[in-house]
């Protein structure tokens, strides 16, 4: 008969472990699918929130960009006619990079060389920090520190040694306030105050000069208009042509490729829009809309007009009516009217998107405090659900586990078997959940923002989010399975002898 020499039991290979686990899951497919469903719901919730916040954030950025672009016309309109304030110049300059057009323009107006401009910007940045610092303070603290001074006056105020003492005293008193500039930096900044003021004065002077030139030229060219603003709005559609050249002559850096065409286009649209808005004054035109909307002609307003103008057939009839009532329809085509109406809608959508994305990007992972908290709770509930399911799985399989141990299974094998089982379900549930969550998020976002934001969806980010969700779901399942697995591994093999 054989010798009894006791050895250490070897570990079972991973592939065998995986196979045994997979067979076990297949045998209890229904139970497993219920557990998977729990994971699916939790991960779908996570992924949904994640994808929505990602999409929202991206749309917010996209919206900001598009709104900024759509405002280019009005920005230039005001820039060409008014020199601005010292504070706006400082804030503007602080945000610039040396490649920006505005950087070169400011350099030109300030009559500085590259070195001087860099210095000026450095001062502007620090000054802007001070502006922001005081803007974020509440009234009481602000008054305590700098009394009622505002803008550049803050620096003038702080230049007085007496006031500086009060300011420092106040700072040391308010422990919660974080002021980033050291005393030396602040002193250096105050020392450069005359230079700063001189530069700004120079910029304002140059700008004023340029503005005057433009206004005079416009008055000469368009003597019949009612006021300067109207003259400018009449001239700006030519911004990509000779008027643009004239703007450049006066010292503004008005980029021929990137800015001028957009400004001209927007100015033209604005002109057309105003023209259309005025067109409903005439009775035949009003009647057309009144017929269509089934209301009295007197109640017709321009909002209704835009609502109806988004189809070409109606636009064509509308232009005919305009001509009938003696209005100038030169340059108006049905396509143009439809595109104007669409543009209005887009502007509305942008506005709505801006409102809806106000809260984007704040709080934990850009989710906002409440959602982050909700997410934690849902993950916890899911974890407990998985732990419960695994616990039941262990209880149900007492005999099986004990038998395996009688057959020579190590505790570690039993533990790995159950953790693996949970991980399998985590991967499957996580994948399904991530896909469902991403789809729901996508549809919800598209339905609230509309299809013209489809290009703003951050596909890569969403895919990364899905991968993260799957990993999180698997991790959660693995962690939730640890206690039940440990319980299974510790089970005494003599349970196998028990007769049920």
């Amino acid at each position: 008969m054989k010798e009894l020499n006791i050895d250490n039991q070897p570990w079972l290979s991973m592939s065998r472990t995986v196979k045994i686990t997979a067979d076990g899951i297949r045998y209890r497919l229904f139970r497993a699918s219920v557990t998977v469903a729990v994971i699916v719901v939790a991960v779908a919730f996570l992924m949904n929130i994640l994808s929505e916040s990602l999409i929202k954030r991206s749309i917010a950025g996209n919206t900001r960009e598009r709104i900024q672009k759509s405002l280019l016309n009005s920005v230039w309109a005001s820039k060409l006619t008014s020199p601005g304030s010292p504070e706006s110049i400082i804030t503007e300059t602080a945000a610039l990079s040396p490649n920006d057009d505005l950087y070169k323009e400011t350099m030109g107006f300030a009559k500085l060389d590259a070195q001087g401009m860099a210095e000026f910007q450095a001062i502007a940045k620090k000054t802007n920090y001070i502006f922001e610092f005081f803007d974020n303070l509440d009234y009481a603290k602000r008054r305590d520190l700098i009394h009622t001074s505002e803008g550049v006056d803050i620096l003038n105020y702080l230049s007085e040694p007496e006031n500086m003492k009060v300011f420092n005293l106040g700072l040391s008193r308010y422990k919660s306030i974080q002021f980033d500039l050291s005393q030396e930096e602040l002193d250096a900044l105050l020392a450069q105050l005359p230079k700063l003021e001189k530069t700004i004065a120079q910029i304002l002077e140059s700008r004023k000069e340029a503005n005057t030139k433009i206004i005079h030229a416009l008055r000469e060219k368009l003597p019949n208009a009612n006021n300067d603003a109207e003259r400018l709005s009449m001239a700006l559609p030519n911004a990509d042509k000779e008027f643009g050249d004239f703007i450049r002559q006066t010292g503004f850096v008005f980029n021929k490729e990137t800015v001028a065409p957009i400004v001209a286009e927007q100015a033209k649209r604005l002109q057309d829009t105003t023209r259309m808005k005025n067109s409903i004054k005439d009775r035949p035109v009003r009647q057309l809309i009144a017929q269509e909307a089934n209301i009295l002609p007197a109640d017709v307003n321009d909002v209704m007009m835009w609502d109806f103008l988004d189809n070409e057939k109606f636009a064509k009839r509308y232009i005919e009516k305009m001509a009938e009532s003696g209005q100038n329809v030169e340059g108006l085509t049905p396509e143009l009217l439809v595109s104007l109406a669409k543009g209005r809608k887009e502007a509305e959508a942008l506005e709505r998107a801006q409102r809806l994305t106000m809260d984007a990007g704040k709080g934990f992972m850009g989710l906002g405090e409440r959602l982050a908290w909700l997410l934690c709770v849902s993950m916890l509930v899911c974890g407990i659900g998985i732990a419960n399911a695994m616990m039941m799985s262990v209880t149900e399989r007492f005999t099986e586990i004990a038998t395996l141990k009688c057959l020579g299974a190590l505790d570690g094998f039993i533990m790995i078997m159950f953790v693996l089982e949970s991980c399998f379900m985590g991967v499957v549930g996580g994948t399904i959940g991530a896909i469902i969550g991403a789809l729901i998020g996508l549809f919800r976002m598209l339905s609230s923002f509309g299809v013209n934001f489809i290009s703003a969806i951050p596909v890569m980010d969403v895919i990364m989010g899905m991968i993260v969700s799957i990993i999180l779901g698997t991790l959660l399942a693995a962690i939730a399975a640890i206690i039940p697995s440990w319980k299974a591994a510790r089970l005494a093999p003599m349970e196998a002898m028990r007769v049920e």
């Binding site: 209890r28 005494a492 002898m497």
Partner: protein, 262 residues
């Protein structure tokens, strides 16, 4: 002193096992459980020596401590007092890994409820202990088929437990217990859930293993046919050995059973 009893028993004149090797020996085995703050004595000092190649039947009413005794000699549980030697190795001295090795290679377990793994085929059930023992899959497969052939289930190797009758399941269970050529087979009422005929088949297989392969069989049973073919009988009552007797010293009436068979 307790140790003496076991050795004395082995050396006592007239014992036919005197010249054989002791495979399992217990010394002053005691086990007590705390059940609802009441100390229950399951075993109150059991000393026995079981010899290699022996077929021994263990009897006793439920609650007699029979199961506890089985757990002790099967290295499934540790005694409160006393020691268990499996081939002169003190089980209490072994680490968890060594215990697993012992259960895997030295002892085969056969349960009343068969305890087959439900999601595995007959062959997989048989090869699982081999896998735990580190046997390569191909070799395990060949050996598994051999053993299944031995219990007459070669044709049904791919069937799952649910597709087999109780007798067939028990035969798979026996095949599984033989996977790593154990020295000892521990059977916990292997025929209790089976009808007369299939019960007889199981008994036949066990006897064949005992006589042909020299496997030590320790069998808890109430089945008279089992008692009829064993070498020794052992009665446990109230956690103590009530009586040990050689087969020839006991009269067992089997007439009615033989009538049934014919």
């Amino acid at each position: 002193m307790a140790e003496n009893i076991a050795t004395e028993q082995a050396k006592s004149p007239g014992n036919k096992n005197a010249d054989r090797r002791i495979i399992i020996r217990t010394v002053g085995l005691k086990k007590s459980y705390m059940m609802k703050d009441v100390l229950t004595q399951a075993l109150r000092g059991v000393d026995i020596a079981i010899y290699q190649g022996e077929f021994i039947s263990v009897m006793g009413p439920s609650g007699s401590g029979k199961s506890t005794f089985f757990n002790m000699i099967g290295a499934l549980d540790s005694p409160t007092v006393g020691r268990v030697f499996i081939d002169e190795v003190d089980v209490a001295q072994l680490t968890a890994e060594e215990l697993a090795y012992l259960r895997c290679h030295k002892i085969g377990y056969i349960f009343q409820q068969y305890n087959l793994i439900k999601y595995m085929t007959a062959l997989e059930n048989v090869t699982t202990p081999m896998a735990f023992g580190g046997v390569m899959p191909d070799e395990a497969r060949d050996r598994g088929m051999e053993i299944l052939d031995l219990v007459g289930l070669k044709e049904r190797w791919h069937h799952r437990p649910i597709e087999m009758s109780g007798g067939q399941q028990q035969r798979v269970a026996i095949a599984r217990s033989l996977a790593n050529n154990p020295s000892v087979l521990l059977c916990d009422e292997p025929t209790a859930n089976l009808d007369m005929h299939t019960g007889q088949e199981i008994i036949d297989i066990l006897v064949r293993l005992n006589t042909q392969k020299g496997v030590t069989v320790i069998c808890a049973t109430h089945d008279h046919r089992m008692m009829n073919i064993c070498d020794r009988l052992m009665w446990i009552r109230d956690g103590q050995i009530e009586r040990i007797a050689n087969r020839e010293d006991v009269h067992i009436e089997l007439a009615s059973i033989d009538d049934d068979k014919k």
